[in-house]
């Protein structure tokens, strides 16, 4: 119940955020703009709309995760409002979890709105609603949740600027870690392979949550790609929330 109260409060707070509104308007604008851009593609409008739409959801979701996720705890600490919450009979891990779930709910609303815009654009173009895109949308949402968890984790022990840099680094290396794996396999040991392997296993492989191209082009993704991707992403999220809570428990709020 206490987690729900923090969650509800965070949801109300973040949903009113102007940055969120601006990003959402840009994202929906880009999805609608893809209707025009697709017109230049020599008959591949439908593909362009889906590619642009799914990418817009992912990119703008990342921006929300970085901009709002990092501020989530920092503004409570800077504004000293954390003392009000901490003085109530609520555990610190409950604050972290409630805050995270509140933002997750806000992001879910955003993703739903962007999905509606994308499906509407597709419907305008093809006359049908392409539900095959939904598994990709689900994994995009999980990727955003993972990025939020990282931003919350980094902001629990570093400054907002550093947290943003760290989170973006995780995003970039997360999409490139597959190449790291290939590199390790391709070339014989040159003395630093243990480091590359370590990075590969620590940094999340965000490509495991990326089936955008596959759903747009109707490629086979493996029977359990979505379920396994979801388990992979959500396990990572839980792990990060535990670490964040542990750090927050130890944090001196004086």
């Amino acid at each position: 119940m206490r987690i729900l109260a923090v969650m509800e409060n965070t949801f109300k707070e973040t949903i009113r955020n102007r940055i969120l509104l601006n990003i959402l308007v840009f994202a929906i604008g880009l999805i609608l703009l893809s209707l025009v851009i697709g017109d230049w593609s020599l008959g591949e409008q439908s593909k362009v709309i889906k590619d642009f739409g799914l990418s817009a959801m992912s990119i703008f979701g990342l921006l929300i995760a970085v901009f709002i996720g990092i501020r989530l705890m920092v503004q409570e600490l800077e504004g000293r409002t954390i003392y009000i919450i901490a003085s109530k009979p609520v555990h610190r891990w409950e604050i972290v979890t409630g805050k995270y779930l509140g933002l997750a709910l806000t992001l879910a609303v955003n993703v739903l709105l962007m999905t509606a815009a994308l499906l509407a654009a597709g419907w305008l173009m093809e006359g049908t609603i392409d539900t095959a895109l939904l598994p990709a949308v689900l994994l995009i949402y999980i990727e955003i949740l993972l990025i939020v968890a990282f931003s919350l984790f980094f902001s629990s022990f570093s400054s907002p600027v550093l947290s943003a840099i760290f989170t973006l680094t995780v995003f970039i290396s997360g999409h490139l870690s597959g190449y790291l794996h290939d590199f390790v396999k391709l070339y014989e040991d040159r003395g630093f392979h243990w480091l590359l392997k370590l990075i590969y296993y620590v940094v999340p492989n965000l490509e495991k949550l990326n089936i955008k191209l596959a759903v747009v082009e109707h490629l086979k993704t493996g029977p359990h790609a979505v379920v396994l991707g979801a388990v992979y992403g959500l396990s990572y999220v839980l792990l990060l929330l535990i670490f964040t809570s542990l750090i927050f428990e130890k944090k001196d709020l004086k």
């Binding site: 851009i37 642009f52 992912s58 970039i172 955008k212 191209l213 082009e217």
Partner: protein
């Protein structure tokens, strides 16, 4: 300085800067027209690097490069907007009164006083400009998104017809076939280039045979194969091959296609 004087300075500064922005833009456009943009793919990283850089947004990056290619191509074949044409016109080398038909057909005597490079680009612009730009761009698009089939057909067939460049077109279709082995149009068009451009009927025959066994392959491909086989006098061999294929194929759709081809071959005997 009083308030009015300060406002006047700020206003003058704004006008000056706006003029600088506009004048430099015009100058940049002129520079670009003179040096053209055909070589710009050389400054783009290779397809593999772009794939790496796209970080999970491969579809969108491939779409953007594809649209850039299509717009470039459109500009090159739309005469009024062809930068070679515009530049030659500005140089006074050709008349702006030239009609589209005249532009397409005028010979080197129409152009006077322009350098060799421009002369070359003007007359072979539809060919060389496309080859230098479009094929490298399509190579990148198809490396980033190998299952995006339209760029293969666009480069392999449409651009080929405008440029006569067989090798890059053939290479593009071969690459497409490698990544999309279930798409009948790849072996069909490869066979078609072998037949029409390379004069290699043996290879054409082999590709067409592959095409007709694939789902979605229309009837006319079978008729083409029958015609091609007739010219090779290899009807018996093809019939035997197809009968073997018929017995080993489970898909009723493909079996029907093979039966139709066999029937066409029988009629030709």
């Amino acid at each position: 300085m009083n308030v009015t004087g300060r406002k006047a300075v700020i206003a003058a500064l704004i006008i000056l800067l706006a003029a600088a922005v506009q004048l430099s833009r015009i100058e940049i456009d002129r520079e670009r027209e003179i040096h053209f943009i055909d070589k710009s793919p050389q400054f783009l990283p290779r397809g593999e690097t772009l794939k790496w850089l796209s970080m999970g947004y491969r579809g969108m990056m491939a779409d953007l490069l594809w649209i850039k290619t299509v717009l470039y191509y459109g500009r090159r074949i739309m005469d009024d907007d062809n930068p070679y044409f515009v530049y030659a016109e500005k140089q006074g080398a050709i008349s702006s009164e030239l009609s589209e038909i005249q532009y397409r057909t005028f010979d080197t005597d129409t152009v006077a006083g322009i350098d060799e490079t421009l002369r070359h680009n003007l007359f072979t612009g539809e060919s060389r400009g496309l080859v230098d730009y479009v094929y490298p761009m399509l190579e990148r698009v198809t490396t980033i998104d190998p299952h995006f089939t339209l760029p293969y057909f666009f480069g392999g067939i449409h651009v080929l017809m405008n440029t006569g460049e067989v090798d890059p077109s053939y290479h593009l279709l071969e690459k497409g076939y490698r990544f999309n082995p279930e798409e009948w149009r790849f072996p069909f068009y490869l066979g078609w280039i072998d037949w029409m451009y390379k004069g290699n009927t043996r290879s054409a025959h082999a590709y067409m045979l592959e095409a007709i066994t694939m789902p979605g392959c229309p009837d006319y491909v079978g008729s083409l194969l029958a015609g091609l086989t007739g010219s090779l006098n290899r009807t018996e061999m093809t019939t035997m091959y197809l009968q073997g294929l018929l017995e080993s194929t489970e898909s009723e759709e493909i079996r029907n296609q093979i039966r139709e081809v066999l029937q066409a071959l029988e009629t030709r005997r």
